[in-house]
């Protein structure tokens, strides 16, 4: 073998290796990812679906994946979503990104998907089946953060707790965090709690109903989607406006801004960005790409404070919820953070 052929051979090998290195990024171009979603009936879920469409639409257009279709069940029922997952397996998707109706009830269907070689990434409404990936929100911490914020602002007093839908684990988790925060700070007492079902109209009615029976309220801890209705109920009752923790909804932020401009009202707002669906999409893409991804990942909260209010409100669509969409790099960072 002459020297020159050896050099050219080495060069070819180098070029091939370089090509292989590049194609690792495009390995998923033939893969199909489906979103299985259990509910689309509120502004958060609508924004979640829009974010999915926007980000995955671009990913499909530039050939990162072959398809990324969203499926929502008509009724928010476990049995229906289990059937939907089984249908998605039959349709031959390579990965299913899942916002589950129940953390346990879908385990049978998720196991079938894993056994059929389908990657399952659950987010927001996560599943406990060990073969699936979980992008969990620390809802408990979120509830606790609300109380910690109030503890910074106030010396103590009575709180009103607005809860979500009874029997849904998110409601239990946030509420547990709130109660833990109250016990830890030792300043507050929860004078009453009502179920606002994460909807402004329901919250307004529920709060208006309980207000006459309550002592002075200094703060309201909420779960999101219920702050504006609560504020309306307080305004109608003629009571002094307590600090109502908001949940990043457009109507809540608008009301906060109005109050801030009128009388310097101060509060904070925290929730999960609906764009977390896009984080789950990129995580699924990374898993299909062969990346080593830990099974449990955590989503960062999206918190809005007095100084970031104007900017956040300007970026939020009317009727929507403050949002960020995640990129491939964000997903890789979240994966790296969990791996450490």
């Amino acid at each position: 073998m002459t020297n020159s052929t050896r050099t050219s051979l080495l060069a070819t090998v180098a070029v091939l290796a370089a090509l292989a290195g590049q194609s690792a990024l495009a390995d998923t171009s033939g893969k199909r990812i489906a979103l299985s979603n259990n509910y689309a009936g509120n502004s958060w879920r609508q924004a979640m679906l829009r974010s999915w469409e926007k980000v995955t639409g671009a990913a499909v257009a530039d050939g990162t994946v072959a398809a990324a279709d969203a499926f929502t069940t008509a009724e928010n029922q476990v049995t229906e979503q289990a059937a939907q997952i089984q249908n998605l397996i039959l349709q031959g998707y390579d990965a299913i990104v899942l916002n589950a109706a129940s953390p346990e009830g879908l385990n049978g269907a998720v196991k079938e998907a894993c056994d059929a070689g389908v990657t399952v990434v659950s987010f927001d409404g996560i599943v406990t089946e060990p073969c699936a990936w979980r992008i969990a929100v620390d809802f408990k911490q979120m509830g606790k953060d609300e109380v910690l914020y109030l503890a910074e602002r106030l010396d103590g007093g009575n709180l009103l707790e607005i809860r979500g839908l009874a029997g849904v684990f998110v409601d239990d988790a946030i509420s547990a965090g709130i109660h833990e925060g109250v016990a830890e700070t030792g300043k507050f007492e929860i004078a009453g709690s009502v179920h606002g079902n994460w909807a402004q109209d329901v919250s307004q009615k529920a709060v208006a109903g309980i207000l006459p029976s309550l002592p002075d309220i200094v703060g309201v801890v909420t779960q999101g989607g219920d702050g504006y209705g609560t504020a309306q109920a307080f305004a109608a009752s003629g009571r002094e406006m307590p600090i109502i923790v908001m949940g990043n909804r457009h109507d809540e932020l608008t009301w906060w801004k109005e109050q801030k401009d009128a009388n310097g009202y101060e509060t904070m707002s925290v929730s999960i960005a609906p764009g977390v669906s896009t984080l789950a999409f990129w995580v699924a893409q990374q898993i299909l790409d062969g990346a080593d991804v830990p099974k449990d990942l955590t989503v960062p909260f999206l918190r809005i404070d007095q100084d970031t209010l104007d900017e956040s409100l300007a970026n939020t669509e009317p009727g929507g919820v403050a949002n960020v969409e995640y990129s491939l790099e964000d997903a890789q960072e979240v994966i790296k953070a969990a791996g450490m």
């Binding site: 689309a40 279709d69 499926f71 929502t72 069940t73 008509a74 009724e75 029922q77 476990v78 049995t79 229906e80 289990a82 059937a83 939907q84 089984q86 249908n87 397996i89 039959l90 349709q91 031959g92 129940s102 953390p103 346990e104 009830g105 879908l106 385990n107 049978g108 269907a109 196991k111 079938e112 059929a116 089946e129 029997g167 684990f169 239990d172």
Partner: protein, 312 residues
Amino acid sequence: MSALLSPRLLRSLLPPLSLAALLIAIFWLQPRTMSYFGLNLLLNLAVPIALATIAQMFILCVNELDLSLGGFVSLVACVTATWVHDTPLLGFAALVGLIAVYAALGALIHLRNLPSIVVTLGMSFVWLGLAVLVLPTPGGKAPEYIRSLMTLKPFFVPMPIIASVLIAGLVHLFLMRSALGTVLRGAGGNAKSLERAGWSILRIKMTMFALAGFFGVLSGMALVGLTTSADANIALRYTLLSIAGVILGGGEFVGGRVSPIGAVIGAVTLALAGSFLSFLRLNPDWQIGAQGAILIIVLALRVLISRTEAKA
């Protein structure tokens, strides 16, 4: 030729024909389903629905209606995933107790002459409340033997098909072919004459409600076997699915006119209708409407056949 295709025959052929049409459409849309694995996935969630439909059929057979079945199946699922798994003796005692409550409901409805819709609607909240008490947050674990029974992979024929045929066949033999079954059905057809002939309508109603409770229990257990754990809201859809399944399978709301084989076929058809619509990539907002449309089409066909029957 006209004798061959009498309205009566057409009527009984309608449920299997609608099922076949749906199956062919699904096979055409998604050829992957035409395999052992595909049929298993497509049909396994139809098994608990078929059992719930049989339960509803027993109630409809005596001219009553059960609006609490979904809540009841949810409660059974919760009990199965907790008590039956942890303390089998207590668990099974509770399930037998639930069946006894169902029989007592039948007695209450008959003795007090109450409308069953009101009683069972009230009971649906009781069942749901109990389910939340038994299992406040989703969880629990399916007993291993139920799980392995529901995920059994027999040779050649997928488990859901064997189960459906078994359920339909056994209930058919009991209700349509045995002497006792004929008497039980008679209570829905002509209770007065049955009573004059010396049969106790009270006992018949209690038996039918107990049978409904028994199949409700089987449905809940089968469901947990598939999902591996329970949720207090897991089967709320079963109330309407089961009623629609019986009617789709050729049953009537009055007159003791029911068919076990038809009911199972109706339940499977309803379960498949959901998959069909999802394979069509229909917007979910339209899916409930489309499911309703499938029901209306089949029922309209039946009315058409009944009219020709009346003319003949």
